[in-house]
């Protein structure tokens, strides 16, 4: 089977394109052929030839298990909702992801539009659903490791820098925080999470950030900026919730240092962020607050820039 160099990100289309051998990929300008209407069987037999999320030459033991499979025909339901290849909606996909699919491996063998990292690393690296503008939190919430370093590293040192997938393993925050503070007491490396609330004067709700995902003040402040750009201030609907509007006013305010980043420490005092070394800060920080500049006067106000320079 010669693998086409490009196809859209749903593996089923490979078989359907084999059926329609006259078509080229991308085939966004062609009409689906009548054959597709009978392609249910074809689809269901795809298992034999389906692409897998793996590098060429890697183990695909699943194919050998086909002997054990009972006929998929037994599952064939004639309910009128047979899965037709819905190329139309996804045909444009490759335009969005062409750089991903044409990535380092160049063979577009991915069923799922990941950037060009190996299957092993997919398990370890942060999972990004698409290579488009990465959601703000993910960019900073996960520390990406290069494929090489993940595979070659045999780290006896406590692995504090392991890339963490958001929300995995599925453990509730209460438990995570409890375990983290347990291990802190035992003076082990805190590989867990340290969630703190971030409130902003005038914003309708709190956010939470995990301090352990940042290495320094710069990362923290840029993450906060991105996160808070979801807020819109100054315009609320009648129910009191902000309307979806622009977001630049907030950014200007942050940059213009009308707002100051402060935190509450273990003793309950409010301090300016950036005064102490990063490690000391993460240990003692209980919550963050983005305070109106005028309120922060008692805290010896400094500009945000100075906070960044502290690092």
């Amino acid at each position: 089977m010669s693998t086409p160099l490009e196809h859209d990100y749903i593996g089923l289309s490979e078989a359907s394109s084999r059926e329609r051998s006259s078509e080229k990929i991308p085939c966004s300008s062609s009409t689906p052929s009548i054959e597709d209407k009978t392609s249910t069987d074809t689809l269901l037999n795809l298992k034999e030839t389906e692409l897998r999320l793996a590098l060429p030459g890697s183990l695909s033991p699943d194919r050998k298990l086909s002997l054990l499979r009972t006929a998929l025909d037994s599952n064939d339901k004639s309910n009128g909702f047979a899965v037709y290849p819905l190329k139309n909606l996804v045909s444009g996909a490759k335009r969005g992801f062409s750089d991903a699919i044409d990535g380092p491996n160049g063979n577009g063998k991915w069923v799922f539009p990941m950037n060009g990292i190996s299957d092993v690393d997919l398990a370890k690296a942060p999972v990004l659903a698409s290579p488009r503008a990465v959601p703000a939190m993910k960019e900073v919430a996960a520390v990406p490791l290069s494929p090489k370093s993940t595979q070659d590293k045999k780290n006896p040192v406590p692995p504090a820098s392991k890339a963490q997938v958001v929300g995995w393993p599925p453990i509730r925050s209460f438990r995570k925080n409890t375990m983290a503070s347990n291990s802190a007491k035992n003076s082990d490396d805190v590989a867990g999470c340290h969630y703190v609330k971030v409130s902003m004067d005038g914003a309708p709700y709190l956010r939470k950030v995990d301090l352990n995902t940042y290495k320094n003040y710069v990362e923290l402040s840029s993450a906060l900026e991105k996160m808070l750009s979801c807020f819109t201030i100054g315009q609320c609907s009648s129910s009191g919730f902000p309307l979806r509007d622009g977001l630049s006013r907030l950014m200007d305010l942050l940059h213009g240092s009308e707002y100051v980043l402060t935190y509450e420490d273990k003793d309950g005092d409010w301090m300016l962020v950036g005064d102490v070394p990063w490690e000391m800060f993460t240990e003692s920080c209980k919550r963050l607050r983005i305070m109106n500049g005028s309120e922060a006067i008692g805290l010896a106000p400094r500009a945000m820039e100075k906070c960044k320079n502290q690092n």
Binding site: S29, P135, R172, S239
Partner: protein, 625 residues
């Protein structure tokens, strides 16, 4: 002729008969017999369960059921527990409280799960419901102990205050002293989630002392070990007790008074808490161990031998929560000591470590399944699994109703054969015919979903992560699982096809969550447009999805059925796909072909067949969780 039959029973008699019918399903069935039964039933329904607070509006509920005394509401999707739902998503209870304050002055019970509750809400509750008895805030957030103080001060008939797993702004323990000295009706108090170091011990002791009906008391971490004896001494009738910190320097007098206090609690059946355990104090609970049916040691960071020593004293144990420090050897010991075990949860002590820190493997779970015939519910975190182990579990525990396996590393294959774990999970669904809840992990292809679709006919909730290969997987589940109510998926290559082909199925479910999958924005729009009784919400924190091509996958998708229409309390990063005809479908290249229209006609045909009353009744189905 039929009229005669209907008139032969006066309404009061029917109402009296209906009062014996408690289950929501039965009540719904009763309400559909005929119009007069519908009317009678709705006036005497006292308890209502709403599994998704956005599926219906407060006004609609109040209009249909004017005399409700007890309400249960759930808000955020389950994956909010794992920080997958951004803050501010929604789930606000205030609109409900505000409406009910006027409509249900005799409301007695409010149970909330994953909702945002503010102090204002709590104050409103305290003010509005004169006979308020039960407040359960399960995994809620947004309130502080000031709100609790308002409840304490005003609710003279309060029986139950349960804050389990909630995120409370704990401003110190003074809220407890707001319970008046004349207040004595407390039956259950769970404040174990409170995080402040301050707690008003004297207020607590006095409260416990005067509430002679107290059965459940779960303390928070701030309560020190040396106070336990005093507290238990005032409440020897306790059935369910959660300690605070269970560690201190060992002192023999403290130990003996502790042991004495425990032994005088003859009714004690459940223990929890045990933060910061000092192993030397554990034997103080031995006097009660033989009667214990439930034990939560999931914060106990002691090693396996100490755990085993304790568990050997607990032959009646039905429910155990423990950390993986117990290891395979400990679970083996458990399986010989605790033959009554029905529920086991093993949590990871070091989930983010790269290498395992304890010797806990699939063997531990297998040994429990082989030896504990009554096992029904499993939650197990481990680092390796095999098909053989899963098949053994399935064959020996056909009575499993809940099976949640979390292999910590995503996409981990069978460690013996390097194959996917399809066959193993397939055995689980095939043998465990009453399985209602399943969470998958490990390396899984579309085949596991084929098995699930074929066998898991009673499955109500399925959680999927890092699994599957194509839309076929999702299609198997949506087309095969007849009882499916909740489906949550993350990081799987499921896209538009299966979703759109099974759109009608979504109206039979409570909700579907898909994040980091491959569903395109265009498909979301189409679904929202064609299925007006579904709310299709796209969550994307990086910006409006219509600034990108329709073929781009959405970040997070939450679809739920609703008779209330789209909600209006969404934050800026949530978009509802509406039925708006002005919506432009941006199909790049091909216009929608005839296969599409065929699909959509089929969907619309099915919808037309579903009577509205039936649909509304289904929304009130009882949850098992």
């Amino acid at each position: 002729m039929q009229k005669k039959v209907a008139c032969s029973f006066p309404d009061e008699v029917l109402e009296h008969v209906f009062s014996f019918i408690q289950s929501d399903k039965d009540r719904n069935a009763v309400s559909m017999v005929c119009k007069s039964w519908y009317e009678i039933e709705r006036w005497c329904r006292r308890k209502i369960f709403i599994g998704n607070c956005y599926a219906v509006s407060p006004r609609m509920v109040i209009r249909r059921f004017p005399k409700v005394r007890s309400i249960e509401l759930k808000g955020k999707p389950h994956f909010a527990d794992f920080n997958l739902v951004p803050d501010g998503w929604g789930g606000y209870v205030l609109p409900w409280i505000a409406e009910m304050a006027g409509a249900y002055p005799w409301l007695e019970e409010i149970r909330l799960k994953r909702m945002v509750v503010t102090d204002e809400c709590l104050e409103l509750i305290a003010k509005s419901f004169k006979n308020f008895k039960v407040l359960v805030l399960f995994s809620c957030e947004g309130f502080s102990t000031d709100g609790l103080a308002a409840i304490a001060a005003s609710c003279m008939n309060l029986r139950e205050l349960d804050l389990r797993d909630s995120d409370v702004d704990d401003l110190g323990g003074h809220w407890l002293s707001h319970f008046p000295e004349t207040y004595t009706s407390l039956v259950s108090l769970n404040s174990s989630c409170l995080g402040s170091d301050e707690v008003s011990l004297s207020a607590l002791e006095r409260l416990v002392g005067r509430c002679t009906n107290l059965r459940t008391l779960r303390l928070n971490r701030a309560v020190p070990l040396d106070k336990i004896a005093n507290i238990l001494g005032r409440a020897p009738q306790l059935v369910d007790f959660g300690t605070g910190t269970y560690g201190a320097d060992l002192q023999s007098d403290v130990f003996s008074s502790l042991a004495g206090a425990f032994s005088s609690c003859k009714e004690l059946r459940s223990l929890s808490g045990f933060w910061d355990v000092v192993p030397a104090y554990l034997p103080a609970i031995y006097p009660v161990c033989s009667r214990l049916t439930s034990l939560n040691l999931s914060y106990v960071t002691i090693q396996s031998p100490d755990l085993v020593k304790l568990l050997r004293h607990c032959p009646s144990l039905q429910r155990l929560l423990v950390l993986d420090y117990i290891e395979d050897s400990g679970l083996e010991a458990l399986s010989s000591s605790c033959k009554e075990l029905q529920e086991l949860r093993v949590f990871p002590s070091d989930p983010f470590g790269e290498e395992p820190n304890v010797s806990l493997t699939e063997q531990g779970l297998v040994s429990v399944c082989l030896a504990c015939p009554k096992l029904q519910s499993v939650l197990y975190f481990c680092r390796r699994m095999s098909n053989v182990a899963l098949v053994t579990i399935a064959q020996n525990c056909p009575n499993l109703t809940r099976f949640r396996l979390c292999i910590i590393e995503p996409r981990t294959a069978d460690f013996l054969t390097l194959e996917p774990l399809d066959v193993g999970f397939g055995a689980i669904v095939e043998h465990c015919k009453d399985l209602r809840r399943l969470s998958l992990s490990g390396l899984l292809t579309d085949r596991v979903f084929e098995y699930i679709g074929r066998y898991a006919k009673k499955l109500e909730m399925l959680s999927v992560a890092f699994a599957g290969e194509s839309d076929l997987g999702l299609h198997h589940v949506l087309s095969g699982c007849e009882s499916l109510r909740k489906l949550e998926i993350r990081d799987c290559p499921f896209g538009d096809k299966a979703l759109l082909a099974n759109a009608a199925k979504l109206e039979t479910m409570r909700s579907l969550w898909m994040s980091s999958c491959a569903v395109s924005f265009g498909a979301c729009k189409l679904l929202g447009q064609k299925m007006p009784r579904l709310n299709v919400e796209v969550i994307d924190e990086s910006g409006p999805p219509d600034s990108r091509p329709d073929s781009c996958p959405v970040d997070k998708l939450y679809i739920y059925r609703s008779v209330a229409g789209p909600r209006f309390d969404m934050p800026p990063f949530v978009w509802t796909m509406e039925e708006d005809s002005a919506l432009q479908l941006n199909t790049i290249g091909n216009p929608i072909g005839s296969e599409w229209e065929h699909n959509m006609k089929g969907i619309q045909g099915l919808r037309a067949q579903m009577p509205f009353v039936l649909y509304l009744a289904e929304l009130s189905n009882t949850s098992q969780w």
